[in-house]
């Protein structure tokens, strides 16, 4: 056991917020920025969004087309694996259900898993069942304003019931996979699924 420092308590939640916090988390009123690389600067003119199936068949929307899709909004708590949680964040975007539905009409077949792929090379894997039924969206408005580049703008994946590393910033593509494959952090020891309520931070956590 490590040496204990007298009087050190660290951050602890008060009782009011404790029920809302997954194990091991503390509430923050900030919105910390954590990035695995430099912030990409993709203009809306260059931006597009793609769903790609296992045969390589794709459906693509440019920014104007994407913005014209039916929108959804969500107020939710978010939980970062680095232990901060932020309550009541407000997002607007296009639900993954809408995208999967449109894609199916154009011959792009969903499979059980998706790899989210972002500008800058970041990737993360998510089961499709965790993105549909209202559980996930491609978000481009945060707190009523266009999503800032440092927080993932023009658009990011939002899947708030999982640790926030799964909500890939600067997302450009959802690539369907037959089996679950490890993305950027998952290939380096982070949990393949990442449920904050079961504290699934790392590979091997139950």
């Amino acid at each position: 056991m490590a040496l204990i420092s007298r009087g050190f308590r660290g951050r602890r939640p008060d009782n009011a917020t404790a029920d809302r916090l997954p194990p091991g988390q503390y509430e923050t009123k900030d919105f910390p920025v954590l990035s695995a690389g430099p912030t990409p600067r993709t203009s809306l003119a260059q931006w597009d969004f793609v769903l790609r199936d296992t045969d390589g068949v794709t459906v693509r929307w440019n920014w104007d087309e994407f913005s014209a899709l039916p929108r959804t909004s969500l107020t939710t708590d978010i939980h970062c694996v680095t232990k901060w949680s932020k309550f009541g964040t407000r997002w607007e975007g296009v639900s993954v259900d809408t995208l999967v539905g449109e894609a199916a009409k154009r011959g792009v077949a969903a499979t059980a898993y998706v790899m989210a792929m972002s500008d800058g090379g970041y990737t993360t894997n998510v089961p499709v069942a965790d993105l549909t039924q209202g559980k996930g969206m491609i978000a481009f408005i945060y707190e009523g304003e266009p999503l800032d580049p440092e927080h993932g703008g023009p658009a990011r994946l939002l899947v708030p019931h999982l640790y926030f590393w799964k909500s890939a910033k600067w997302v450009r593509e959802l690539r369907f996979m037959q089996t679950d494959q490890a993305g950027f952090w998952e290939s380096l020891g982070y949990h393949m699924y990442g449920d904050p309520w079961r504290e699934q931070r790392y590979t091997g956590d139950p």
Partner: protein, 259 residues
């Protein structure tokens, strides 16, 4: 058992450290003088990781630059209190002489200066970025005592602070300049300069560097430490002025300004 390997090569492990003395440097910065079991020694510019464990096992960890010179008897860290800082609020608040925590290091052999590296020595600090640079100045003061060597190894410090009351090691820097004409210290006070202040009052920019730093053909060794925006600006301006990038070393503290 002591190791004969140099600090860069030795294994790093967590060691217990006991607070031997607390020195209030400014209203928001404090130096902790520590007694560390089997401390292997360090080089000026290196840092340590500090780990605190609460009674229930909760742990937190942060890095702090070493303020003391390699030859100083005791290891000293200078910590700036951050508003939301879990560890800095403990180290700048509750901690008492006799308290213990864990330390790992020294680490960071990239951002070091030894007198053997030569000069001239250009140091640029923002806020608590002064800490590792002060270790370098203290190392220089204790190692270079004869006048001709000092003249061959001049040092200039450009130090940006928000207020005069935020300037860490203020008196020691004044004494250093008074006793050693080969050291020059220039302050810029960016937010609330004192009434009678005749010095710089703005963020470090190219014009200030042209004024204070050596010209590039003197080939100074430059060390820049502090909040990321300051470090970015100074490093790119020095490079733009023609200083050799290989002689410019940076230590960014991140946007919060804390190491």
């Amino acid at each position: 058992m002591t190791s004969t390997a140099t600090p860069a090569a030795r294994r790093v492990a967590w060691r217990p450290a006991t607070v031997a003395q607390i020195i209030e440097e400014t209203p928001t910065a404090r130096t902790l003088v520590l007694d560390v079991q089997d401390w292997p020694g360090h080089r000026a510019g290196q840092h340590v990781d500090v780990r605190l464990t609460a009674e229930d096992g909760y742990q937190a960890q942060r890095s702090y630059s070493i303020a003391s010179a390699p030859r100083d008897v005791a290891l000293a860290l200078t910590v700036e209190r951050l508003e939301d800082g879990e560890i800095s609020s403990y180290l700048c608040g509750d901690v008492r002489v006799g308290d213990r925590f864990e330390l790992r290091g020294p680490v960071g052999g990239y951002f070091v200066w030894d007198v053997d590296d030569g000069g001239p020595l250009l140091l640029v600090a923002g806020g608590s970025g002064i800490v590792p640079l002060m270790a370098m100045l203290r190392h220089r003061a204790s190692s270079v005592t004869d006048e001709s060597t000092r003249r061959a190894l001049p040092a200039r410090l450009l130090y940006s602070s928000r207020r005069w009351s935020d300037v860490i090691y203020r008196d020691e820097l004044e004494r250093l300049v008074a006793s050693d004409p080969t050291v020059q210290v220039t302050h810029t006070i960016t937010r609330e300069p004192p009434q009678d202040w005749t010095g710089f009052r703005r963020r470090i920019d190219r014009a200030m560097l042209v004024d204070v730093a050596w010209p590039p053909d003197e080939r100074p060794r430059a060390y820049i430490c502090g909040p990321t925006p300051l470090v970015e600006t100074v490093a790119s301006e020095l490079a733009a002025l023609g200083h050799e990038p290989a002689f410019i070393r940076t230590e960014r503290f991140g946007p919060t300004g804390n190491p």
